[in-house]
Amino acid sequence: MVPEGNGAKTGANHPHLTSPLKGEGLSSHPHLTSMPLCLFLAVVVVFSLSFFSIGCKPGGARSSDTVLRISGWTSSPAEETLLMECIKEFAEKHPNLDVRYEPITGDYFPKIVIQLASGTAPDVFYLDSKVAQYLMAKGVLLPMDPFLKGSPEMAEFIPSLERAFSWNGLVYGIPKDFNTYALYYNKRIFDEAGIPYPNGTWSWEQLRETAKGLTDTRDRRRLRYGLSLAEDLPHWLPFALQNRARILNPEGTACVLNSSQAVEALTFYGDLKLKDQSACLPSEVGGNWPGDAFAKGYSAMVLEGAWLELYVKKSFPSLSYGVCEIPKGPKGDRANLVFTVAYVIPKKSKHPRDAWDLIRHLTSLDIQKKILHSGMALPSRSALQKDPYFLEHPTSMAHMAGASYGQPYQFGPGGRKMDDIMGAAVQEVFLSVKSPQQALDDAVSQINRWLLP
């Protein structure tokens, strides 16, 4: 309870008491041990040595093969199985390599940073676009340009994804897949209300009016809202971008997401719930996230990524829904967010060449196609944008389209706290604690601190 360097127990002495131990031992006789002094010293030595031998080294025995470690997170067991298969394929082609998949559970990014700092990072690891610029600017990742020169087929990725992993003209990551927002709608609810399905050309007003028309909260046991929203940054940000709000100033030194355009967008977003009462938060209806509330039939529409499709397929297979591009801004602007993940190599990797080969394999056209056809993720290669798969699965088209005008979900090297802080601001607006202007002003001043070097 009281301070000490290692957090072990410490003590301050108590005023009233003499040592209770005093006198206890004295009654016992001093039986002189025959143990010689050298034994004592030996014990000291043995224990100092034991520090350096026992159980301190994780990892264990090494084979003579080159060990290539790859880390990522697991979003679903199916995805993990697929990745393992691809890795196995690679390992079979490279018998000299011992490829180890080491998934990271829990807080992924902090753990990666810790490994980078201690020089124990895996040779290949997933990196989310949100934090990519931070690591790229820090110079802890390996630029891939020298490798890219020798592999022309590695330059055929969707430009907005490539952009997410480039810094100062160098490429640091090969995007593995991506996601964008699309508007999901529940066909049954629309049919019942006799309202035509949304399409990709909607404006904010159409979204707002339709949401109002679809809301029906008369029956408390059968609540139905037009939309389900989230109190976070990513769900709101597309609206701000559609309204031509900028996130950072051109130099990237200050956040300007409290501009009048941003405030307008947050006002619009908040009013959907606060004024119109035509939107719900998932927590109000017993859902964990907006897509969940949608899948459970509490809302007629929702803005989500393709992960919703997977979720519905698995948990609510009977839901009849459609997907289209998200609405345009008041001035007709299209904007979307691109969430993407890349494979990167740490600068300190001992086997950059092998790591590169592994990445090349994992992002090859074949494997990308396989992933697309498994329905698990959208492929990052431009060649696959016109794959026949999309004819069979028109719902994925809306997400694919978003990539052409979407911007990566990232906010510069100092922007990794952006979504925590902005998320809190959106929350404050929903709780009516602050006005949109006030909430954004406060958030921006907090964010600016993190943007400093």
């Binding site: 301050a12 005023p15 009233h16 940073v113 690591l135 706290k417």
Partner: protein
Amino acid sequence: MKKFSKARLEEALTAYLLLSPYLGVLVVFTFFSIIYAFYLSFHSYDLLSAPIHVGLRNYRTLLWDPDFRMAIKNTCIYTVWVVGLQTALALLIAVILDQKLKGKPFFRAAFYFPSVTCSVVISLIFMWMFSKLGMINYVLSLVKEAPLLGWVPDDLDWLRDKRFALQSIMSLNIWTTSGTFMVIFLAGLQSIPETVYEAARIDGAHPFRVFWKITLPLLRPTIFFVVVMGMIGCFQVFDQIYVMTNGGPLKSTLTVVYLIYSYAFRDFSMGYACAGAFLLFAVIFTATSLARKFLDVEPEY
């Protein structure tokens, strides 16, 4: 003379030999460490690149950081309630146990044992008890049946409710540490000489009066000690927050140490976190030195 000084030298060498392992730890992980922490608090450092000097910026921004303010506010509320209640409870039990009652060792053990248990385990147990279908709601639903108690809530999700999350963790802390302080009070009570009471008894004073006029004043240093120790413990609360709520919901259980931890090891803003840690250190250091000054506990040297 030469022999004497040789003996002295030998003794000194032996002393340093015996002290060497401890000194190694002390110098590196306490003294160097605290100086390094102080140095870092004037820098921006994220483990990945060398520290950048930023002067007083960390301290300045910290004072305006809404999260830090929130954490201080929560920590203060937490401290006031926990210290107040646990001290009162510990004193009450100690005074009762100090009467000549049977089964004292049993009760003492029963009250003390929560504090030997791991904070993580206790947190897990309380998380389970405070969950929506947990024991607490069940007990409350029984209480609710009683007349006049119909207003008692029995369907709260305690740890996910921003009105009650911090209070729930407070109750856990009081439950855990009251026993520890009870033992200290008990020792304090027993060190009051019987003769003091005898004099009062001859005067025929009422037991409550005796408690108020004699026991309490004599126990004042112990009470002071218990309060200071309790405060220090509360300022440092971390484990329970980390396991049970992660500072949520809506930052209602965000405490100073949890915030420092997450600044350092989630956001890798090490310098900024060090500045926070130093402010905390200043508070705790003041509290401990005050305690020492008032109690004069330094062993004679």
